[in-house]
Symmetry: C2
Subunit: 233 residues, 2 copies
DNA sequence: TGTTAAAATAAGTAAGTACATAATTTTGTC
DNA sequence: GACAAAATTATGTACTTACTTATTTTAACA
């Protein structure tokens, strides 16, 4: 196969990929050197390089200096999830968004939260509980901790107008983020808020963000019962 | 800031990122042209280009030909989840892996499965139910459909030696994959297999894979109660 | 004024070259 | 034969130049 006219590094990537799919190259095999592939496919080595590093990012191949390129024996499925701002997500579905503040209090964070941030003690924090509504129905229940040590100006934010979620995203970009996803049985109090039966299975997303090593916020988001995280990879 | 010695596109990326973090550039702002940034940072435009396309991949900025580069107003949190082969995952934890075949039967797929594959009817498929054990305890319960139309040779596979999971990964690479994640209450039969109380909240991962447009497999994987998907982004 | 065509612009892609870096292989020495 | 130093090798990164393409701006025209 040659790429007479409009070739691109993506074409090269797909060519390599198709050779993996049709078993020209098999798991564990060593691929030809970039240089040789460039000759064969009649393109520059930099184009092969671009294609290869993309495949390496995707977890399909493994590259080592001097060692060459091999097809991974145990490829992982690598899927990317997009977690939008809740308001944006709801409005993208064409539903009316509303945000209801439940409680907001300045307090010391418990050890479990400090541990999540990877610090010894978070003495000054705001805990915000809020409900995001889509078309009048509960959509996401969030239980959030915001570090006042890192974000002191959060004290003055009026949460009746803007959700903590939105304010933080627009005012405090983060440099690092950790996400944990799990299932949990909902308890009575939360069940009432979410308008679901007690003991329903809920999908929980916990997100923790930092700027550098400074904690910004930790949020436990409980999603509607029928919520599905959908990814493409 | 200049990069006297060892500069790289990653340094440029971090420089741009830090300018976003310290509000030199704010959401909605237009960034300087690649060319000007290259002059300022004393590097080639291709280096800026590489840094920028990485930031665009991460969902932080948006680039348009002629339009230039802007900081996204509503950045999404983009997290990558790695879904390894179950056996590899368990062994990576230092636990003993065992695989227990529950049922395996050739049958016609129900409409719900065909729909997932995006085809009208899947007439010839294998349905495999199996339990992956870690250190003697149930770890993942999988309910899998394999298209015999796409993978006829699966008929002859002896599932007492190798899990369908592993056989497929090693023999039938896919070109497209869809993942759905949700929470579900476990029912009696499955609860017994997983050795958990009936009505526990389980994290479910459903994966569907294709080669081109041809369906390969669809699997519903029910994870242990305390399972957490952890990502970094 | 509105509609269309042309020009300008900024990112996208690619080629080719040069040098850096991490591993491996070969060679040299005891 | 064991070990360390040196040469080799394949990928990693960067620079320069050239050309392409999508989109906006401007200009021309009805």
């Amino acid at each position: 196969m040659t790429f007479a006219d409009r070739q691109s590094w993506k074409d090269v990537r797909e060519e390599i990929r198709s050779r993996i799919l049709d078993s020209t190259y098999r798991p564990g095999d060593k691929l030809p050197r970039d240089h040789d592939l460039a000759l064969e496919l009649k393109c520059a080595r930099s184009t092969v390089q671009r294609a290869m590093s993309s495949l390496a990012d995707a977890g399909i191949i493994e590259r080592k200096r001097k060692g060459g390129t091999i097809i991974k024996l145990d490829p992982v499925t690598r899927a990317t999830i997009n977690i939008p701002i809740t308001k944006v997500e709801i409005e993208a579905r064409g539903l009316k968004y509303r945000h209801h503040l439940i409680t907001s209090a300045v307090t010391k964070a418990p050890l479990s939260i400090s541990a999540r941030f990877g610090i010894a003690d978070l003495n000054s924090a705001v805990r915000v509980k809020a409900l995001h509504m889509a078309a009048g129905r509960p959509y996401v229940l969030e239980d959030r901790w915001i570090s006042l040590e890192t974000v002191p100006e959060f004290r003055g934010v009026d949460l009746s107008n803007i959700s903590a979620n939105e304010w933080l995203v627009r005012n405090r970009p983060y440099s690092r983020c950790n996400v944990q996803i799990y299932a949990e049985l909902i308890m009575k109090k939360e069940a009432n808020l979410m308008e679901v039966p007690e003991g329903s299975a809920m999908l929980i997303l916990e997100r923790t963000t930092w700027i550098g090593d400074e904690p910004i916020t930790h949020v436990k988001a409980t999603h509607t019962v029928d919520y599905r995280l959908i990814t493409n990879g």
